[in-house]
């Protein structure tokens, strides 16, 4: 088997194992509670009969292993069961039906932020690296160090204050619904997308800069320069083939970071995404929704890292020419 293919398959296998391990952790979080979830929610005054009835309603009376395989089996097919809220009433809320439109909104927002942030930060990072120690580099460096350390909601509220309240260019709340037209959706999601762009651009730029500086310091680049190869050829033929791996890692790392940042940003802008759904579900301790959201977030995170690893394996020039 070709070594590239073998390494990729190994990495894929590892990714699937990680995903399974994470799903076990997420599922068993409910079992870790000393005394049990039902007892904890109902309080100490609950009679054993109430607890048993509550458990039967939630389906918690069956063994955990059975429930796990049922849960993960359905989850793979996109069915996350029914929510705890409205359980006693006549109407059962389906978790997947609740999540689906919000998932679309969240991916819309994340994609928008990524499309602005990725090219911009790669460009800025490369420029800072090539003009190292210039005034441009210094300014960019201290500005990014400052924005990295700021909480997302601080950046978000500054933007709201300036652009929505003072200048009245955008709405302070990004309410969208299923019927919102695409352009309107774009406009309403602009402010949250800019917030997230600012949050990840700093990380991404610094990492790009560090990766490129690291690369340019390697002996074979110096060798090429000493041989008299032109500057653009050094970058295109010598530096770039080895740069894809670190760049892919930087992008994946930051997109994964985006997944987390989205939770806070959605709450700030009252944007109906999956992050806000999860926060609401946490407050009401609606476990099927919480676990479904956690699984989606974790899976995205793992898949992005997996993708970065595969890109760096496939583009690694050393693996393409096996001895």
């Amino acid at each position: 088997m070709h070594p590239v293919l073998r390494t990729v398959l190994q990495r894929l296998g590892l990714g699937i194992v990680t995903l399974l391990a994470v799903s076990v952790i997420i599922f068993s979080s409910l079992e870790m509670l000393p005394g049990g979830y039902a007892e904890n929610v109902l309080g100490q005054s609950a009679t054993p009969e109430t607890v048993a009835a509550f458990k039967r309603d939630l389906g918690l009376d069956r063994p955990a292993s059975v429930r796990y395989f049922e849960w993960i089996g359905n989850a793979v097919q996109g069915d996350f069961g029914s929510s705890y809220s409205g359980l006693s009433g006549s109407m059962k809320r389906n978790v997947s039906a609740t999540i689906a439109p919000r998932l679309y909104n969240t991916f819309f927002l994340a994609a928008m932020a990524a499309l602005i942030a990725v090219p911009l930060s790669l460009l800025l990072g490369a420029m800072a690296a090539l003009h190292r120690n210039s005034w441009f580099d210094r300014i960019v460096n201290s500005v990014t160090l400052t924005t990295i350390a700021m909480p997302e909601f601080f950046i978000a509220y500054i933007l709201v204050y300036v652009f929505a309240v003072k200048l009245r260019l955008f709405y302070p709340n990004s309410t969208v619904s299923i019927g919102t037209p695409f352009v309107e959706h774009l406009y309403r999601a602009a402010l949250p997308a800019i917030t997230m762009t600012l949050v990840i651009i700093a990380h991404m730029m610094r990492m790009t800069r560090a990766a490129i500086i690291n690369l340019l310091a390697s002996p074979y680049i110096e060798m090429a320069q000493l041989k008299g190869v032109s500057k653009s050829d050094v970058i295109r033929h010598h530096a770039l083939p080895n740069a894809w791996a670190p760049i892919a890692t930087v992008i994946a790392f930051n997109l994964a970071y985006l997944v987390v940042g989205v939770v806070v940003v959605e709450v700030v802008f009252v944007y109906p995404g999956i992050g806000q759904l999860m926060v609401d579900a946490v407050s009401s301790r609606d476990m099927p929704v919480v676990q479904a959201c956690a699984l989606i977030f974790a899976a995205t995170y793992i898949l992005l890292n997996l993708l970065a690893d595969i890109v760096s394996i496939v583009t690694n020039p050393r693996l393409l020419h096996p001895k």
Partner: protein, 294 residues
């Protein structure tokens, strides 16, 4: 052999701690100075909060949502408490909780990391694999999920975040301890018959301390931001405790009316993390000298 011939000139083997601190401070860049001054001010605020704050932590001093006035410099909040006093008390609560959490995380993660590096074998493999699985889940998401399971309370928040963060500490302390464990002086201590405690505290810990201290600054920032984010989302530190994250959430509706109320506590958070980052950055430059490759 006696010491009949005294040395011509007293040679100092090494600088005293105070001297080297003074030397380091002299060469510190402006950003690091800024960071240190800000951290000092925050510490003073946190320690002397009851003396500095004009009003009590949850004392109702007037009507709700008052604008700033000579009595209430930053106005009042949604139930008429003085915003400035809550900000000052918030320093104590928010920083204190983040500090406790980080310390706990280092205690757990650091000791497990050193232990894994020393013992290797099955123990190391076992802990490392579990930690790997935990590292694959973003901390904020995991913390949210665990808070949903165990319910929101301060103790739960501290324990959950400390345990989640300790996985990161474990990774680093194991990695640096592994480099030290294979050194000759550890081997000779072993052959000398020194006990576990000696090897850990006299041989390994002093050598892994510098990277761990820098990491402590970064982990503190991370924990502090995560706690603030959770409080902002309403599942972290609960009222009536004055806390910056929840203060942002409580006053967020005011921004639509053109009042920058949520910006004050948010700026308080941002300023501290920026300051810690500046100091850590300087530390990294100083201790490694190879950051950024020049």
């Amino acid at each position: 052999m006696n010491t009949a011939t005294p040395p011509v000139r007293a040679i100092k083997a090494r600088r005293s701690v105070m001297e080297s601190i003074r030397r380091d401070l002299k060469t510190a860049p402006l950003t690091a100075w800024f960071g240190m001054v800000v951290i000092l001010l925050y510490a003073i605020c946190a320690i002397f909060a009851p003396l500095l704050a004009p009003y009590g932590e949850s004392e109702i001093v007037g009507k709700a949502y008052q604008l700033s006035s000579p009595e209430n410099w930053l106005g009042t909040d949604q139930i008429g408490r003085d915003t400035l006093s809550r900000l000052i008390f918030g320093a104590r609560n928010t920083i204190g909780i983040a500090l406790i959490t980080t310390l706990l995380s280092f205690l757990v993660g650091g000791s497990l990391g050193v232990l894994a590096a020393l013992k290797r074998g099955l123990l190391d493999q076992g802990i490392s694999r579990v930690v790997d699985a935990f590292l694959a889940i973003p901390v904020l998401i995991f913390a949210l999920m665990m808070l949903a399971v165990v319910g929101k309370s301060l103790i739960n928040l501290i324990i959950i975040l400390a345990l989640l963060d300790s996985t990161r500490v474990f990774r680093l302390s194991r990695a640096v301890a592994l480099n030290v464990v294979v050194m000759d002086f550890v081997e000779s201590a072993r052959l000398r018959g020194e006990g576990m405690r000696w090897i850990v505290f006299k041989e390994i810990v002093p050598n892994i301390l510098p990277p761990l201290i820098t990491e402590f600054g970064l982990r503190f920032c991370f924990v502090f931001l995560t706690i603030s984010a959770l409080s902002f989302l309403g599942v972290g530190i609960q009222p009536p405790t004055a806390d910056w994250g929840s203060m942002v959430a409580e006053s967020k509706s005011l921004i639509s009316f053109g009042r920058p109320a949520p910006l004050y506590p948010a700026a308080a958070i941002a300023l501290l993390t920026v300051a810690v980052n500046f100091v850590v950055d300087w530390f990294l430059h100083k201790t490694s000298g190879l950051r950024d490759g020049h």
